[in-house]
């Protein structure tokens, strides 16, 4: 799992019940825009995420409706275990190679 995928999952796991749209996820994950959409598509295809359209009238609101993403019940569980595994793997690699910086140069 890449660092960017982990950042997206962490952003979504901060508030698992809250649905977020792409730009909001970019901001929370501190990633440049455009990088999150391929990740969101992959996670959605794997069943970790669910997405839905915002229920507004675009003409009344004066803006197009947003696409919201939220972790599925299984997805939240799998994301937590995947992040835990990734942290363990990083820690194991750091033990093997103590010269690595604590910030994680991986």
């Amino acid at each position: 799992m890449t660092q960017t995928t982990q950042a997206v999952l962490r952003a979504l796991l901060d508030q698992p019940s809250k649905a977020m749209y792409g730009l909001e996820i970019c901001g929370r994950a501190e990633l440049p825009s455009g990088t999150v959409h391929p990740i969101l598509a992959r996670l959605e295809k794997a069943g970790w995420l669910e997405s839905f359209w915002e229920e507004i009238d675009p003409h009344r609101q004066g803006r197009p409706r947003r696409r919201y993403y939220t972790l599925s019940a299984d997805g939240a569980e799998l994301a937590r275990s995947a992040l835990a595994r990734a942290t363990e793997s990083r820690a194991a690699l750091r033990r093997l190679q103590p010269g690595l910086s604590p910030a994680g140069a991986l």
């Binding site: 799992m1 890449t2 749209y21 792409g22 730009l23 440049p32 825009s33 455009g34 990088t35 959409h37 391929p38 598509a41 992959r42 295809k45 794997a46 069943g47 970790w48 359209w53 915002e54 675009p58 003409h59 004066g62 803006r63 197009p64 409706r65 947003r66 696409r67 299984d74 799998l78 275990s81 595994r85 990734a86 793997s89 990083r90 194991a92 690699l93 991986l106």
Partner: protein, 275 residues
């Protein structure tokens, strides 16, 4: 999307060709969807095929208001079949979007026809899927819209409408100075998005976890997968290479000999210096 009142002839031609492509693709999808439901319900064949033909003519002649009216009629006649209803709703929205991409003169003549058809035909302003209303304070510039449009062109046709609307909603959230960099980043990443959208999921996450737990060595590969792809490729190659060597007694023996030879050659200088 790039269509504006004053556009260069080259841009106008590009927009025209793109629209032509959209129409052809749209009609192909519509034919497939209609064919499926007509095959399921032969009683609808004569009526359905007649409507489809009329719709094909309307699209070819760019009479979009007529096309939307015909689609709505088809929608009503196929109402008992919920899947069909949804398909036609989606397609009607695509037509509405295409109306936004065509030259102003064509929209006006079509809107005149629409007004003759009555309230069922949408007006020229009912482009729900356009990036943003032109009078929106954060209405994107032409450069931004062209970049987003180009990014959309790289996506599989079935997913374009969804991302068109999703990205449009995000673009108007940004201040105007940030919109073009945002659109360019979308463009630069659209190839990756295309790959994700085209790829079928190879295995479920549950199966992946089960494989990592059950298969010896997969844990090490999973740990390496935490790195970026070059490290993962190198690590996986190393593991496979070792497995290949250890699978044969002769190769293992050669490897041990090689390691011994390397060790002895590295010890030699110290031995000489000791003497």
């Amino acid at each position: 999307m790039c269509g504006e009142d004053r556009v260069s002839p080259r841009l106008a031609l590009t927009a025209d060709l793109r629209l032509e492509y959209d129409i052809q693709h749209f009609y192909a999808r519509l034919s497939r969807a209609a064919g499926k439901y007509i095959a399921m319900h032969p009683g609808l064949a004569a009526e359905g095929e007649g409507q489809l033909e009329a719709l094909g003519h309307a699209l070819a002649e760019r009479r979009y208001a007529t096309a939307i009216r015909l689609l709505r009629n088809m929608n009503t006649s196929l109402a008992p079949f919920s899947g069909a209803t949804n398909d036609y709703r989606l397609l009607a929205r695509e037509i509405q979007y295409m109306r936004g991409a065509i030259p102003a003169a064509a929209v006006n003549s079509d809107a005149a026809e629409g007004s003759r058809l009555g309230a069922s035909a949408p007006t020229a302003s009912s482009n729900a899927a356009l990036p943003a209303p032109v009078d929106h304070p954060n209405a994107p510039s032409r450069r931004t819209r062209c970049s987003v449009d180009l990014a959309l062109r790289l996506l599989p046709p079935a997913d374009r409408q969804r991302y068109r609307e999703e990205w449009a909603a995000e673009v108007v959230e940004l201040p105007r100075r940030d919109q073009t960099p945002y659109a360019l980043r979308l463009l630069s990443r659209s190839v990756w998005l295309r790959r994700e959208l085209r790829e079928k999921p190879s295995m479920t996450p549950h199966l992946k976890v089960a494989l990592i737990v059950m298969v010896p060595g997969a844990d090490a590969i999973a740990a390496l997968a935490g790195l970026d792809w070059p490290a993962t490729a190198l690590g996986s190659g190393w593991l496979l290479g070792m497995a290949w060597v250890l699978s044969s007694r002769e190769r293992t023996h050669n490897l041990v000999s090689l390691i011994r030879a390397l060790r002895s050659s590295s010890k030699d200088p110290s031995e000489h210096s000791g003497k």
